[in-house]
């Protein structure tokens, strides 16, 4: 499975929060901010919404991501795959919650949004992804998507979902595709997901709105990210390693070290110092086994 998100910082922001109803936090670097309408998102920014929040993020190419409540979203914005021209595709990562992703209108654009359970690639679709505690769902509102499941044995064969089809996969079970979404699924969607909201990007085009700084991130703020797929969490080690010097953060990392062993060299560097009588770099490889 190739879910190594290329978290390369881009020089300019390509995403803007154009609607925010309710509270949401922005995690940028090692700091937590209060998100606001008009804030431009940088690559690798993390958006975490409150219980009943509705947020819309619009990208420069016309694509958009609408987020529901209790959602964790990583704005990656980077080339999709090795074979694709840089700048024509985008990657995003949804850790949990609800997201409706609408592709932009530009030709040759490709999009990929990954989750811990599957990755979705498309060029012209509108689809809703729900990652609940017990199941993951995808409803293709229009267009077509290609979905690749991620299991313990790696990625499965790609499945094509057409407009109107509804994919569900309960924890520990095989996936199922239904011709229509369930009423239970529709009932969980915010009203904003059911309408096509006109773009509000022009309102914030030439404005620079800074998010309000809250505080440095705590372990609880980012715990879910630290424990998710290895490919996603590994780049976060470098990003958040300075927080390891915070006693509370450090102690929490140590308590949950088995869930993110890649932090072991950061927490206990002495264990990884080369010793004269042992072969170097053996320990770090062991840490990456998980």
């Amino acid at each position: 499975m190739c879910l190594a998100l290329p978290l390369v910082a881009l020089a300019q922001s390509t995403a803007t929060v154009t609607i925010l109803e309710g509270e949401a936090a922005l995690v940028r670097g090692t700091t937590r901010y209060a998100l606001a309408e008009g804030v431009h998102l940088a690559p690798r920014d993390i958006v975490q919404t409150g219980d009943k929040t509705f947020a819309q993020i619009e990208f420069a190419d016309g694509s958009r991501a609408e987020l529901g409540g209790k959602t964790r979203f990583l704005n990656a914005v980077a080339p999709l795959s090795r074979g694709t021209k840089a700048g024509s595709t985008s990657d995003h990562f949804l850790l949990s919650g609800l997201m409706k992703f609408s592709a932009g209108k530009s030709a040759n654009a490709g999009y990929r949004y990954a989750t811990p359970q599957f990755t979705v690639t498309t060029s012209d679709s509108v689809a809703v992804v729900q990652l609940a505690a017990t199941e993951a769902s995808v409803f293709v509102e229009s267009g077509e998507v290609r979905l690749v499941e991620i299991g313990p044995k790696g990625a499965s064969a790609a499945q094509r979902l057409k407009g109107g089809e509804f994919y569900t996969r309960k924890n520990g079970q095989k996936s199922a595709i239904a011709p229509r979404p369930s009423q239970a699924f529709i009932g969980t969607l915010p009203r904003g997901f059911l309408d096509t909201i006109p773009s509000r990007l022009s309102r914030f085009k030439d404005r620079e709105i800074a998010p309000k700084r809250a505080e440095e991130i705590t372990y609880t703020d980012v715990e879910a990210w630290l424990k998710t797929n290895r490919d996603v969490r590994r780049p976060l080690v470098q990003r958040w390693r300075s927080r390891a010097s915070d006693p509370a953060f450090r102690s929490a990392l140590i308590v949950h070290l088995k869930d993110h062993p890649e932090w072991d060299p950061i927490l206990f560097p002495e264990k990884y110092k080369p010793k004269e009588d042992k072969a170097p770099a053996a320990a770090p490889k062991a840490a990456e086994m998980r």
């Binding site: 509102e141 109107g164 011709p179 229509r180 979404p181 529709i186 309408d195 096509t196």
Partner: protein, 290 residues
Amino acid sequence: MKLILKFNLVFVVVFLAGLAAAGYVSWTLLQKNARDEVVQNARLVMETALSTRAYTSSQLRPLLETQMKYTFLPQTVPAYSATEVLNGLRKSFPEYRYKEAVLNPTNPRNRAADWEADIVNQFRNGPERAEIVGERDTPAGGAFYIARPIKITTEPCLYCHSTVDAAPKTMIDKYGPANGFGWKLNEIVGAQIVAIPTAVPLERANRAYQTFMISLTAVFVVIAVALNLMLYFTVIRPVTQLSKLADQVSLGNMDVPEFTVKRRDEIGVLAESFSRMRKSLVEAMKMLEG
């Protein structure tokens, strides 16, 4: 027979004849006007329905297209919105009934009853007919109706009614695949029918007729009283007085007081002539006695 009695007899005969003629003419006109008014109101109802249909299909439906991919909204159907709007109108005007009677409807409540199906078939057999106005007997009494054909003139109508495969899936979820399909472009599939009980125009005509006849009678009575008073004071009373005076003079009573009337009309001239005659008679008697 006294003069006033003769006058009143003639007056009453003329009055009754005039009242009967006016009653007949006004009853005929009022009934016709009441029916015309009801027809006009029915056409207004019909136009309201058509405007609602146009608004729904041109403005409302496009806004709800996204929602229609999740749940079927009957509010986007022109026939449904027109019927609902006019059901609201019926709260203020309960006598008006509106129905979009269709031979093969999607929504069962629009299925044409037998007499409605006859009207639809009249339109289908004579496509040049733009409107049918008529009356029919019902168990609740006579009913007046006005009907116009529902013709499929644009392709978007067929989006929901051509084939099951082409129809929105959410619509099939709600109404099933059995009814409301197979419609063709330029086909007359139903009729808009506005029905009103016949009693409504008749009741209106009756109310106007009663008001008119009571007013007319009141005018005649006032005129009769005024003419009688005028006749009594200007003719009958002075003539009676003059008659009594003439009686006294004819019996040789020359001492009766003068009949003094300061009027320049025929009665005044008669009084002056009588005074001169009396004076002449007194002079003549004196000459005979001398």
